[in-house]
Amino acid sequence: MSATAEILDSVQSSYKWGFETDIEMDLAPKGLNEDIIRLISARKEEPLWMLEYRLKAFAAWLKMEEPDWARVDHPPIDYQDLHYYAAPKKKAGPKSLDEVDPELLKMYEKLGIPLKERAILAGVEPDPNERPQIAVDAVFDSVSVATTFRETLSKVGVIFCPISEAVRDHPDLVREYLGSVVPVADNYFSALNAAVFTDGSFVYIPKGVRCPMELSTYFRINARNTGQFERTLIIAEAGAHVSYLEGCTAPQRDENQLHAAVVELIAMDDATIKYSTVQNWYPGDADGKGGIYNFVTKRGACRGDRSKISWTQVETGSAITWKYPSCVLIGEDSVGEFYSVAVTTNHQQADTGTKMIHVGKGSSSTIVSKGISAGKSNNTYRGLVRILPSAAGARNHTQCDSLLIGDECGAHTVPYIESRNRTAKVEHEATTSKIAEDQLFYCRQRGLSEEDAVNLIVNGFCKEVLKELPMEFAVEAQKLLAVSLEGSVG
């Protein structure tokens, strides 16, 4: 059998994060209506303005229709057949790790998520061989169950907490910025999210502060028939600097589950936000049964001059990914970046890309997208570069590469370019290639197994993107790519 035929023959799931955690849950009844929204708001002890915001969003959502322009296919979603709130019964929002349910701690340990703060001893140099410490917000179904290093961070004025807590404790900031980048009625899923969002992270970096450690949020879906509606808001004041990473996994189940997130980033003058995602939701089995529907709206506003927002994503999971992390480049000389690796195998579908909206003079953007398709999967890059008349001297460079493994998968590139300023420069390059038999043979002749050969070639293909990830995560991402494509070869 030829290598490619074998690749096709044995594509199968190797999802290692698919276990369930048995824990007593507080579940809202199934269905979506004003009462459910009131219930969510009550559970989160929200102020009235937040409830009103949600109800307004719900009213808008009722008038909207699910978009159908993406190259994805799924049976209709019954929005009344979902639970919109699911939280572990024991004390939501414990104050210290000792109060967190040991079952949950065990689960995070199994997932490899560091929830322990290693004590930093006075006068002792940190061991250079140890991984740098990372602050983690752990979101489990609809609630944040732990957020680490909050004290260390608050010493420099950085706020890192669950968004449900920020609504209560930092209402002025939340009211000012929530929905300011992604308005409620931006799209069907953002409206839904605004009505029923449950948890996510809130980050505030004050003026001139360089966040002293990586911040990250780890999302876990565990409960059955539950939607997860993540909401994240990151604000970097003038001259501030932050690197943030999110990861996610879910149990292996036959039913499809919905994750509809909204992420908003705001960067003021000279501020930099680096936002990295390693998306590893359960992708469904080899026959396309089950898996997460990942419908996500992510957008950053470069409000300040010379501000910079950089999105890096490694997307290996989900049955369907619908996601376009975007930048609105308002400030002069502001910079937007989008680096993406999207892997689809079996029956996975990904329609992902970015939007770069150039408003400010001299704003520039870079898009590097690497799509890898195997099995019967479909992988679409969809990107928009819009240059407004005000954006004199704006520049964009787009590089879109697709790699095919086998003959039954698809790769599609849909670039939209709208330039309304003659001094702007927009460049677009696209390539599609296959892992050639001769490349595989060359590697195997040198002693590499077929699987190692595919990994080497795939990692080479993704290198430009992987090098944008924080070091430790780049290694994780490489391993994840290998695991995702495991079974894609003989």
Binding site: A3, Y442, Q445, R446, G447, L448, S449, D452
Partner: protein, 249 residues
């Protein structure tokens, strides 16, 4: 010892090797010459296990093992190395990383410990120096943007690092300048030992001046039509293939 008997192979329904008999004893270097399209590269591919070719008959044993039953990577682990006539490009794959992955795969197969990046670089630098290759060749992507001659040298570097027991060099001398030719020949000569043998496919006598072969074989239409000592290559250089071809017909 490499022992090829009655080997026939085809691609699609086109038969290319039509009965090859060839024995290369340990420690010997044999040259294979012959007109374009006669099946020389095919022989190299079939010996190393390329799947596009179907072996339709015959046998190949190498140091007592049935080579044809092994996957390409297992043949590599058994010591078979093919220097490609047209080396393959691997975009984005760092040459040093590729070489280390290959070397470690082979070391693993032999139950040897793997080399870390530092240990590997030490070993690799010795070889690049010997081959007069600039160090930055290790940093570049495998064969991407390499000149014709650089690609060939990179093949020899891989051979030097992997230390095969059977090296098949497919026109590794083509496209090399005079100095490089000498370096490549030295590379092979350095490996010569009682447990190393080589099949050197070439169109030119000049490589064989540096790398005196024990035997020279002429391959035409998928068969070895004549074998002789080193003098056969010199004769062919003068007379061309017409004579031997006519004789064999």
């Amino acid at each position: 010892m490499l022992d090829i008997r009655g080997l026939t192979a085809s691609i699609g329904d086109k038969s290319i090797l039509r009965g090859i008999d060839l024995v290369v004893p340990d420690g010997e270097v044999h040259a294979i010459m012959g007109p374009n399209g006669s099946g020389k590269s095919t022989l190299g591919y079939v010996l190393s296990g390329r799947e596009d070719y179907t072996v339709t008959g015959g046998s190949v044993t190498f140091n007592g093992i049935d080579l044809l039953s092994l996957e390409p990577e297992a043949r590599a682990a058994a010591g078979v190395f093919l220097a490609f006539q047209a080396p393959i490009e691997l975009p984005g794959v760092n040459n040093a990383n590729f070489l280390r992955t290959a070397l470690n795969a082979i070391r693993r197969a032999h139950g040897e410990s793997e080399l870390d990046a530092m240990q590997f670089l030490k070993v690799a630098r010795v070889e690049t120096k010997r081959l007069s290759m600039p160090d930055d060749m290790l940093k570049r992507n495998v064969n991407v943007g390499f000149s014709g001659g650089e690609k060939k040298r990179n093949e020899v570097l891989q051979m030097a690092l992997l230390r095969p027991k059977l090296a098949i060099l497919d026109e590794t001398d083509s496209g090399l300048d005079i100095d490089a030719l000498k370096i490549v020949a030295d590379g092979v000569n350095a490996l010569r030992s009682p447990t190393f043998s080589a099949l050197v496919i070439t169109h030119h006598q000049r490589l064989l001046d540096h790398l005196v072969p024990n035997r020279v074989h002429v391959l035409a239409h998928g068969r070895i039509i004549r074998s002789g000592g080193p003098e056969l290559a010199r004769e062919l250089e003068k007379t061309g293939y017409a004579g031997v071809l006519a004789e064999a017909a």
